[in-house]
């Protein structure tokens, strides 16, 4: 087991707990997808893992070490990278500078360059646009840049918060494809939040349904896709269906 959350209670205000005793686990090299309604606390789970929030109860254990309440820059050192919801590139910096910021905590220049090459290999178009201002990239390109930036740390695990948010079906398809390919090629572990439940579960091994700050259901991704309750609540129709086609 690479990551284990046990009875985690966490929130933003002292008076309100968003996560109310949540438990979940992720195995090495797994892709796990969290789905659930708006405000269920999905992002909060990722923020608690990456150290942006400190749990008031419960524990977050990564690779056998308790990382609950550890500062984000130190969680990073453990090999957990978090790509948050929405835009998170540094818009005024160039694409290259953004990638280099990903290795902010690495002081070995040669190592940084090696990783840069590795990232360029994964995303060859980065090289051509290295000088471009990140704020001028399209939404999908920015998301890939953010993923690339996270890879500059060679993390063992990536936390992805709604990577397809705001992207059209074609672009989100590229993003999901990239995630799936990354796992197959590098064996990275992924914990992902997705509103676009069908595509999210489509590339996942397992999934959790989150509601009111607790896990309600834990199944293999295919079982969740077939579950009528899940279908009714989260699989909707429209865009998702066209994507599947």
């Amino acid at each position: 087991m690479l990551l284990q959350l046990q009875n985690v209670v966490a929130g933003y205000l002292k008076t309100v707990d968003v996560l109310q005793g949540l438990s979940l686990q992720v195995e090495e090299a797994e892709i796990v997808c969290l789905i659930g309604p708006n405000g269920a606390g999905k992002s909060t789970v990722l923020r608690t893992i990456s150290g942006l929030l400190t749990p008031s109860k419960g524990s977050v254990v990564f690779d056998g070490q308790d990382i609950s309440g550890v500062r984000p820059d130190l969680v990073l050192q453990h090999g957990v990278a978090h790509v948050p919801q929405g835009h998170s590139s540094f818009p005024e910096m160039s694409l290259l500078e953004n990638l280099l910021m990903g290795a902010y905590t690495v002081s070995d220049k040669a190592l940084v360059n090696r990783r840069l090459e590795a990232v360029y290999e994964l995303f060859p178009w980065f090289r051509d646009r290295a000088k471009q201002r990140a704020g001028n990239l399209s939404g999908g390109q920015q998301k890939l840049l953010e993923i690339g930036r996270a890879l500059m740390l060679e993390p063992r695990m990536m936390l992805l918060d709604e990577p397809s948010l705001g992207l059209d079906p074609k672009k989100s398809h590229t993003v999901f494809d990239t995630i799936s390919r990354l796992r197959d090629e590098t064996g990275i572990t992924v914990l992902m939040v997705e509103q676009n439940a069908r595509s999210g579960l489509g590339i996942s091994d397992r999934g959790y349904v989150l509601e009111l700050g607790r896990e309600r259901l834990e199944r293999s991704a295919s079982e969740l896709l077939d579950d009528p309750r899940v279908a009714q609540l989260y699989l909707g129709g429209g865009i998702d269906d066209t994507l599947q086609a």
């Binding site: 705001g166 509601e211 609540l233």
Partner: protein
């Protein structure tokens, strides 16, 4: 318990009012009347300010602009037209409110710190005008106006009662707003302006109205202060320290509560008077105020009343567990509610 509690609450309200009614008769020295009057002005101003700063969350540091404008209007109309300030002050304050509505409408676009600085700039502009448009304002030396007709023996007593009357009115207005739909809209703006807008609150209109109502009670105090003072000068009429008193009183008592601003004023003004009296030097007084303000913001950011309320609530809290419903289970074997987990609009 709850019936006794409610009764006690109202009982204390009347005790407090009774006390304020007899206070000037018990403490007859002019000093006490001046102190009481000043406290009531700040209490009324703070009650008004709270409608904007507390309910709506827009903290102005320049509302004494309206205090100053009305102070001058009252003095000028008393001198030139012979108007009696006791009725001209509340009437002219309405005129000042119109000015405030216009300024508020302009400033409704500014948010956060931009709003606060804009209010300071507004105050400084009016102060410079008061200092420099000498033909109207008398410049830096200021203006005098006729003394009140009653014998100096009564000193500020009539002013005291007059201001007490207006404090009660301010509280009634504040309480009414708090309970109204309009007030709910203000609270919604404070919590999340964007969401308030989305659920149909006309945020601009609400903010502008709150701006105007709070200006009214501050302007009113300025008019009456002007009459009681008989001589007014720009540095006192348009002083950011007036805003400090107002804001500090509100925050001390409890930002966004009905009674907090009044409670705060009744602690702050006598307290600061005590400091002035014992330590003299107004500069030291300023330092004490500054430190007090820092301490309140750091350790009592919500003010006395909400903190007390929390204490009581914590004591009363029983083991009653939170009974949240789980939508997943609710929906699994019944028909779904209309609610489909929709996406928020994608970020632009």
């Amino acid at each position: 318990m709850s019936r006794v509690g409610t009764f006690l609450k109202q009982y204390w309200m009347f005790v407090a009012l009774g006390f304020l009614l007899v206070y000037p008769l018990i403490w007859r020295a002019p000093y006490y009347h001046v102190l009481g009057f000043n406290t009531l002005i700040v209490a009324t101003a703070a009650t008004g300010w709270n409608i904007l700063g507390g309910y709506t969350g827009y903290k102005s540091l320049g509302h004494s602009t309206f205090f100053g404008i009305n102070a001058y209007l009252v003095a000028i109309t008393a001198n030139e037209l012979g108007w009696n300030p006791l009725w001209s002050a509340p009437l002219l304050a309405l005129g000042v409110t119109v000015v405030a509505l216009v300024l508020g409408w302009i400033m409704a676009r500014a948010k956060g710190s931009a709003f606060v600085i804009a209010t300071i700039a507004m105050l400084l502009i009016f102060r410079l005008l008061a200092l420099n448009v000498k033909s109207v304002t008398g410049g830096a030396p200021g203006l005098s106006q006729p003394l009140a007709p009653w014998s100096p023996e009564y000193s500020r007593m009539p002013f005291y009662y007059y201001m007490l009357f207006w404090l009660v009115i301010a509280l009634l207005v504040s309480a009414y707003i708090r309970r109204s739909r309009f007030g709910l809209g203000l609270l919604a703006i404070r919590d999340d302006e964007g969401k308030a807008n989305m659920v149909g609150v006309n945020t601009t209109l609400s903010k502008v109205l709150a701006f105007g109502v709070s200006a009214y009670f501050i302007a009113l105090g300025g008019g009456i202060w002007s009459y009681a003072q008989t001589h007014i000068a720009p540095i006192f009429a348009f002083s950011i320290l007036n805003d400090v008193d107002t804001v500090l009183a509100t925050m001390l008592g409890g930002l966004g509560t009905l009674w907090g601003p009044v409670l705060g004023a009744f602690i702050l003004i006598p307290g600061s008077d005590y400091i002035l009296f014992n330590f003299g030097a107004s500069q030291f007084h300023l330092a004490v105020f500054g430190v007090l303000m820092v301490v309140i913001i750091l350790f009592l950011p919500r003010g006395i009343l909400p903190s007390l309320r929390d204490r009581l609530a914590a004591r009363r809290e029983t083991s009653s567990a939170f009974t949240g419903a789980s939508t997943m289970e609710d929906l699994s074997d019944s028909q779904p509610r209309g609610e489909v987990p929709g996406r928020e609009a994608p970020a632009p």
